[in-house]
């Protein structure tokens, strides 16, 4: 991969202001995923805004601009899709999300409902159950000793709590991760990852559509709670299934990659694992710092609703802007020693969960899962060692591993 950057005044197509640095990095290519950090640095250093020739979109990779774009939803809208595809020009691959791919005022209404379903008060109710499951899982893994931290922990733990918390039936749950994989690949460009994922998506889509129906959701779960808001008129009955779908799309694979990131960090930085063992109350921040450090959700797009200036460059209406959340979370302009995993870092302000009106509505669930798993590891006095080849999993939006073989034992 070339990290070449040019100001390229000759090859600029018509309306593009020549001053925006053109970059010939493909941020959705396998070699980009394999060697991420030099390329992210090149994107950040090229300018406050860049033009990605490969996909004809603008990109922002510095913290200040990523934060600014996230917090100006009037100018940088979501209703034209938060992937590369512009819903104004192309039919979306599935009916758009009523929250992620919506703008105010429509977004405000659906967002209020999901905020209530996943509020701090609700977290208090599910906390003990989630914590007990984490303790049991860590005990089981300590007995087994040689495990794959992805399949046996990062996937197994969320799968043991989240589908139940949603109120899903037992059958067919194997579709959940596969469906989420499609959703997050589909935000990317029409590359092989996206095309293959969508081609194979029909059975997963059918499963999810069915599970979103009220009759299939156990009372008391998040899913049934969403439907209950259609009784009080805050949403229409036909909107409820699509809001359930949002949690099924975004609530599982993200935490799998968040937990995977945290274990991968603690395995690579044993001094930080030692600090965590010494002080298990650092578990929550150790997870948060892993979300900053690895940024399991790497990118999202916005579309400009008007001509707008970013860092001194004019950008026209109807342009896609790619926000590099992961690059912003390692921008040295914002973070001291950004490439250091530090479980006592003041992480407030990182954009791993986004920022502004679309900031992750499930962030409290994610933090709860991360906290209880890391606290269980810390309280059992666990040491983690990588004991086999680490394999990366490729997805256009999610960053994480396919396999992380570890030995887990008392320190």
């Amino acid at each position: 991969m070339s990290a070449g950057i040019s100001s390229a005044p000759m090859q600029v197509s018509g309306s593009k202001p020549p001053s925006v640095p053109h970059v010939d990095i493909d941020p959705f290519a396998i070699d980009f995923f394999d060697d991420l950090y030099p390329a992210q640095e090149a994107l950040r250093e090229a300018g406050s805004v860049v033009y990605l020739d490969k996909w004809n979109v603008y990109g922002v990779a510095r913290y200040a601009q990523v934060h600014a774009v996230l917090n100006d939803p009037q100018t940088f809208c979501s209703s034209r899709g938060v992937g590369l595809s512009d819903f104004k020009k192309e039919k979306p691959w599935r009916p758009p999300s009523l929250i992620l791919e919506a703008d105010p005022p429509a977004h405000t209404r659906t967002r209020a409902v999901l905020s209530k379903v996943l509020s701090p008060a609700v977290m208090k109710q599910i906390r003990d159950r989630f914590a007990a499951a984490a303790e049991a899982k860590v005990d089981e893994l300590l007995r087994r000793r040689h495990i794959d931290a992805i399949a046996d922990l990062a996937e197994a733990y969320p799968l043991s709590v989240f589908p139940d918390a949603m109120g899903l039936q037992q059958e067919g749950r194997e579709h959940l991760l596969a469906y989420a994989g499609v959703v997050f690949n589909a935000f990317g460009p029409p590359n092989e990852l996206r095309q293959t994922a969508i081609e194979r998506s029909a059975p997963h889509q059918a499963y999810v559509a069915e599970q979103c129906q009220r009759k299939n959701l156990t009372p008391g779960g998040f899913g049934a709670c969403i439907h209950a808001f259609s009784d009080s008129g805050e949403i229409r009955p036909d909107e409820a299934p699509l809001l359930v779908r949002s949690l099924l799309s975004a609530g599982l694979d993200t935490t799998v990659n968040g937990l995977g990131a945290a274990v991968y960090c603690l395995a690579r930085f044993p001094d930080e694992m030692a600090r965590l063992r010494a002080n298990p109350s650092l578990a929550r921040n150790a997870f948060e710092e892993a979300v900053r450090f690895e940024s399991p959700v790497q990118t999202f797009f916005r579309t400009t609703t008007r001509e707008v200036e970013i860092g001194g460059h004019m950008i026209g209406e109807g342009e896609k802007v790619l926000m590099f959340l992961g690059a912003a979370n390692r921008d040295p302009r914002r973070w001291d020693e950004p490439d250091r995993y530090d479980i006592t870092r003041k992480t407030s302000g990182h954009v791993g969960f986004g920022s502004g009106i679309h900031m992750c509505v499930g962030q409290l669930v994610a933090r709860l899962e991360g906290e209880v798993v890391l606290a269980a590891l810390a309280r059992r006095g666990v040491a983690i060692e990588i004991d086999g080849p680490v394999k990366r999993r490729y997805n256009n939006t999610l960053r994480g591993l396919e396999s992380l073989p570890i030995t887990i034992k008392p320190a």
Binding site: K116, S119, P120, V122, K346, G349, G356, M359, L364
Partner: protein
């Protein structure tokens, strides 16, 4: 400049000088006040920036919105009549001398 006094649960007082245009949460975190976590970065989503506003100041703050009200029900420490989310307290020169007490925990 707006000075704010934070009182820790152990009675320790810390006075900081805010530049005046930010939220009380941002002023606290940028001055290293430990008792404010602010996990959501000020987006009114986490309730980990909970403070108890000194009674003398309570009426001088702008009223709380319904989101803040709902979030406070889920705060880790006990909710009291003077509970607020510090990310929703916009500092103004009139708030010079504001006194905020920190709860014993945020999660």
């Amino acid at each position: 400049m707006t000075s704010i006094i934070f009182i820790h649960p152990d009675g320790r007082n810390v006075c900081i000088e805010a530049n005046g245009a930010e939220s009380a949460m941002l002023a606290a975190t940028s001055h290293g006040i430990d008792g404010i976590l602010a996990e959501c970065g000020g987006n009114a989503m986490c309730a980990t920036c909970h403070v108890y506003v000194d009674e003398a100041w309570l009426d001088r703050l702008s009223p709380m919105g319904s989101e803040e009200d709902a979030l406070l029900d889920g705060a880790a420490a006990e909710r009291l009549p003077n509970s607020r989310l510090s990310c929703q307290i916009q500092l103004t020169p009139e708030l010079d001398g504001l006194v905020l007490r920190l709860p014993d925990r945020q999660v």
